[in-house]
């Protein structure tokens, strides 16, 4: 037995009968060559795999810019009726990049809960259902928003009145300046209409919902209110 153990612990590969052993090659040298070759292969594979992976995941971390868009003048909107306005949320892809907002003037009697500042003097509700993202339709006679896909219903303030949606309709920042009403990026609200960064549909914001569905890196933030886009020129003037 002792002789056998001694043979096993020899530092030469040739004594251990390893394949490809040659005179003077030690086990340490063999292990070093092994690790070096494997590392070189791993580095070469990582050199194209990691950039490709980062390339695919990159958009998650990239903040998408957004500009204020003009949707009308203060005279266009009332406190009691919603006007449907089309805005562009993704440039250059035609209809797929458009979104619909239902806009009215803020009514202090009913719009008195949630975040209050100069960016909600016009209430602009997104038509994107908070259940799974279909387009809701405003039914004037019922003063309700109704989703055709799974029966979500929202009241006049956009809060859930029935069906599967988990939070009120998203809103857009609005801003009145120089006789024009500007519309900005989307934000989400909880059932108390408090403002949160935009979440995808079906992600609740009440209770632990806001922690289960954290804020994302790539959503548009409210742009600064200087350098607003100029209103279109009136033809003939």
């Amino acid at each position: 037995m002792p002789a056998d153990r001694h043979k096993k612990s020899s530092k030469y590969t040739i004594d251990r009968g390893m394949p490809g052993a040659f005179e003077g090659e030690t086990v340490t040298r063999r292990a070093f060559m092994n690790v070096t070759a494997q590392t070189a292969g791993g580095l070469a594979a990582a050199a194209f795999t990691l950039p490709a992976l980062a390339f695919a995941l990159g958009p998650i971390f990239k903040r998408v810019p957004f500009e204020w868009q003009i949707i009308g003048t203060p005279a266009d909107f009332t406190e009691t009726q919603y006007d449907a306005k089309v805005l562009t949320i993704v440039d250059g892809i035609g209809e797929a990049g458009k979104a619909l907002a239902y806009v009215r003037k803020r009514n202090p009697a009913i719009d008195n809960i949630g975040t209050q500042d100069k960016f909600n003097q016009y209430i602009a509700l997104s038509s994107r259902c908070a259940h799974l993202g279909c387009s809701v339709r405003y039914v004037e006679a019922a003063e309700r928003f109704v989703c055709p896909c799974h029966g979500g219903v929202y009241n006049f303030r956009g809060q859930v009145a029935g069906g599967p949606p988990v939070r009120p309709l998203d809103r857009f920042y609005t801003f009145e300046h120089d006789g024009y009403v500007y519309i900005g990026p989307r934000y989400s609200v909880n059932s108390e209409l408090q403002r949160f960064s935009p979440r995808d549909p079906a992600e609740p914001l009440d209770g632990i919902g806001q922690y289960l569905y954290p804020s994302r890196f790539d959503t548009s933030v409210r742009p600064p209110t200087n350098n607003l886009p100029l209103p279109p020129t009136i033809p003939g003037s």
């Binding site: 958009p59 035609g94 797929a96 896909c149 979440r199 992600e203 289960l212």
Partner: protein
Amino acid sequence: MHPVDAAVEGGLTVVDWIDERTQLSPGLRWMLFRKVPKGINWAYTLGSATLFVFLNQAVTGVFLAMYYRPDVNGGAYESIRNINDNVFLGQFVHGMHKWGASVMVVLIFLHMGRVFFFGAYKYPRELTWIIGVVLLILTMAMGFTGYLLPFDQRSYWASIVGININGTGPFIGPYLSDFLRGGPEFGATTLSRFYAIHMMLIPGIMAALIGFHLYLVTKLGISAPPWIRATQPAALTETVEV
């Protein structure tokens, strides 16, 4: 020499030439001429049927890609309309791909049911089952990504809903839906992203896994139906050309 004999001779020469250099024929013989248990029936062909539907999807998909344009600004829809209305046999090849997708899902579940109810997933075939489940998930992912490509109203809204369902996963959901869209909103890269996943990423993984699945089937052999009792092992096997 008769011309037919000469042609046969020539063909054999070519095959021999290749086989001498590749030594493929023992492997092919190992794969194709193997012992199968007594009592197997038509239910045992569901796996092969699924394989042929996969090949159908692969071939029709490659040729659809010759006419398809993943352009989110109306070009995708127009290219599909062109395939259906103008291209010779376009509607047929598109139909084979579209209906083949449903047939594949149906066959997978039938195949899975056969394996489950016959107990064929048990030792030593657990890994074959696990790979099969991964293949099922990948097939679902193919269905999900392929559904968007015609880019009509149904595709668009189904994908919006599907992506948002992905977003409901706690903690990683929001980032998963961002990854699928390639950003916070459905955009220009969403369609090309789905297209690349649908026609390159998943098919490559699936082909490799199907190869491994078939290797395991051949290596471990086919399980006997549960009603065949292994009382006389010698008498229970016969050599059948499959």
